[in-house]
Symmetry: C2
Subunit: 190 residues, 2 copies
């Protein structure tokens, strides 16, 4: 249960998910690709000669979530891999030095007390599955890679969640953000 989950997101010509669109929200763009595939392992770029990019991260212990919030999240959050979830998003984010120089209590204050990151997400989570991966300790270009899965009917709800988070005080510390929207490939080709 406390196991870590390594992941490598590979952008290439072909893959499990077809890219619907890629946007640089803040900072520079990633090289455009047609497809994204996730692998549950840390792959070195040399293992994938055909890849335009490989983004790596690790899902591990929570860093801000408190006990009462853990319980609330558990009660509503779905698992990844639901068959109706044909849509996905990969949102790589980097936070500024100003964020990383804060102490733990200051980051928690901004993250939840002032930005209500967890409280806001709760409303959306029954529809939207997500998993956070940390890349910072790996020396990766992005500090966080968040993966989302949702059904076609919840595409607008997902848009609302993303826009809401981007208006928060927490997001003032985001200095690089790319937004990649995806659709499962068997549907993309039908």
């Amino acid at each position: 249960m406390a196991a870590i989950i390594p992941v490598s997101f590979v952008g290439a010509e072909t893959g499990t998910y077809r890219v619907l669109r890629m946007n640089a929200v803040v900072g520079e763009a990633l090289a455009p690709v047609k497809a994204v595939t996730s692998h549950a392992v840390h792959l070195p770029p040399s293992a994938l000669p055909g890849a335009a990019w490989v983004l790596r991260g690790t899902n591990s212990a929570v860093r801000y979530v408190e006990r009462t919030e853990t319980e609330a999240l558990r009660a509503v959050q779905p698992t990844l891999g639901r068959p109706q979830c044909t849509h996905a998003a990969l949102i790589p984010i980097r936070k500024s030095d100003a964020w990383w120089n804060l102490s733990q209590d200051e980051r928690r204050e901004i993250f939840e007390t002032r930005s209500q990151h967890i409280a806001s997400c709760l409303k959306y989570l029954p529809a939207i599955a997500r998993r956070l991966h940390h890349g910072r300790e790996l020396g990766e270009p992005f500090d966080f890679l968040t993966w989302f899965e949702y059904s076609a009917e919840h595409a607008q709800l997902f848009e609302e969640l993303v826009q809401l988070l981007r208006t928060t005080e927490e997001w003032k510390y985001v200095d690089w953000e790319v937004d990649i929207r995806l659709i499962k490939n068997e549907l993309a080709s039908s």
Copy 2:
């Protein structure tokens, strides 16, 4: 200032620091080596064919330290590399699933409110320099690698600090700990 610092500790026949002793405090022993060298990069084991082991970690943002504690630590903690610090210790630690399944507030409560990890260390820090490296997200066998440097005259003080931490509630969650004591090699050979 918010930069991450990657590190690889290499155990081998020769190296910068000579091993005085290696103890498995909890759990299994590491393969015995004569010397340890630290490299400020994440080295793959294949890069070091002569190494008995390579332990990797990353120094990054604090996870429990609050603002007032940050200020108190900054006021007393010395930097690594002081010339009089001929002695060093490398203490790799793994914590149990029971620890990693706790929420952030529960871990902070055990770490500081009940175990006084930071408050206890403050007394020792003017003499003992240290740097914490996280290995968990890297998929390493140890969750933490802490590196300590101190002078010969403070060897007993360091012993006191280590023993104090091992009696805390926090340490009940440590399920693997190896204690490696070292001395700078130019002195070891004199």
